[in-house]
Assembly symmetry: C2
Homo-oligomer: 215 residues x 2
DNA sequence: ACCTGAACACCGTTCAAGT
DNA sequence: ACCTGAACACCGTTCAAGT
């Protein structure tokens, strides 16, 4: 079981979600395809378990965070840690927190995040929505990041800079009368940093939360 | 071409993303599978074009919005309209805004959203991040919503209430010492409304934005 | 309890060939 | 310019059979 998950994660890390097939996994394990079905009922379960497997390390990182007297700062640090894990493993973005099942590291992480809101002057309703919002920012940024080509594997040996640059170039061709905003931000878009973008979105949400909590 | 997209959208609306196969689409169009490849180079392009096709209607809805003297209120109304479209078509959540290609309704919608930030006292950098954050909230909420079973198509003819209730029940079994937050919000989770959750997340982001803009 | 080979029912995509 | 049948190389999943 352990080796099934380890090899599954290895495949995902090496070549992303499409690389994880029962046949590829079986070959790495040196067995037949059907064997995997003894450990796992479906591909969905395999993905869920592989995701929760790596979430164990993320949870450890979060637990190792120092913590401060400001619950919102702590919430930010935890979210940044979580997003960092997704930056390192882009395939995670599509699966993590998808089903916060009973037991499992995802639920424990959810609890960790939520516990910070218990230190804020909020209703239970507001606390639930606050954690949903923070998780939403992470997911939203992860999905956005997932659009970009991983590494330099795209047509014509282009880098991420060239990929963004090609979009930017096309945008600059648009009529400024029709697309004033696109022109306003095209230089910002060109070569932008995903982590920067995430942190800004997170900060807006946390600023709103601080206001709501009167903290 | 038009009918290819119309039928593709029909399939997606009827039974979600897995229902859209070249074979199913060809059958509906009364032709062979290979014919579709004359209009579209790949499945990815088919999905992109189908998505942009329905985004046309969303764009019309957004353009029909009255507008006010408060750019942030206008931003909120537009985001709510966008999210409403995703509630009606859950499959949209996985594809919209994925590639804001040159030309296309998604780009026009992106421009519409961004134009509101031009009315705020922000830097170009802040404007870019603000729109990214708002889109991120929509995407994040849409992904979260996509986890839940569509309609009552799940094991044992359960409703959404029963689906959420089953999770809530399991959560209530957890040790309150280990999971104080989960216990705090389990009643909120049970039977929660996705649109409510989205609006709360959006409001936090917009409150942060208002603070930033000093408006 | 654990593993297997072989099949089944699907996929997206290609291609030579037709009109 | 537009469409086709038939094949190719894959998928996830099942199942009877083995140890």
């Amino acid at each position: 079981m352990e080796s099934v998950l380890t090899e599954a994660v290895a495949l995902l890390d090496e070549a992303g979600a499409p690389a994880l097939t029962f046949r590829a996994l079986a070959q790495r394990l040196g067995g037949g395809v059907a064997s995997i079905y003894w450990y796992v009922a479906s591909k969905e379960e395999l993905l869920d378990r592989a995701t929760d497997h790596v979430m164990g390390a993320v949870l450890s990182d979060v637990e190792r965070l120092p913590g401060s007297d400001d619950p919102i700062d702590d919430l930010r640090a935890m979210a940044v840690t979580l997003f960092g894990a997704i930056v390192r493993r882009p395939w995670l973005g599509a699966y993590f927190m998808r089903n916060v099942d009973v037991q499992g590291n995802s639920l424990r992480l959810y609890e960790k995040l939520g516990r910070q809101t218990l230190r804020l002057n909020l209703t239970a309703h507001q606390r639930f929505h606050a954690v949903s919002a923070v998780v939403g920012v992470v997911v939203g940024s992860a999905v956005d990041m997932g659009q970009e080509p991983p590494q330099e594997i795209l047509d014509g040996a282009a880098t991420r800079e060239e990929f963004l640059g090609r979009f930017a170039e096309a945008w600059r061709e648009l009529d400024p009368e029709d697309f004033p905003f696109v022109h306003e931000i095209v230089d910002e878009f060109d070569g932008h940093d995903d982590v920067d973008q995430f942190r800004s979105a997170l900060d807006l949400t946390l600023a709103g939360l601080r206001l709501q909590a009167g903290a």
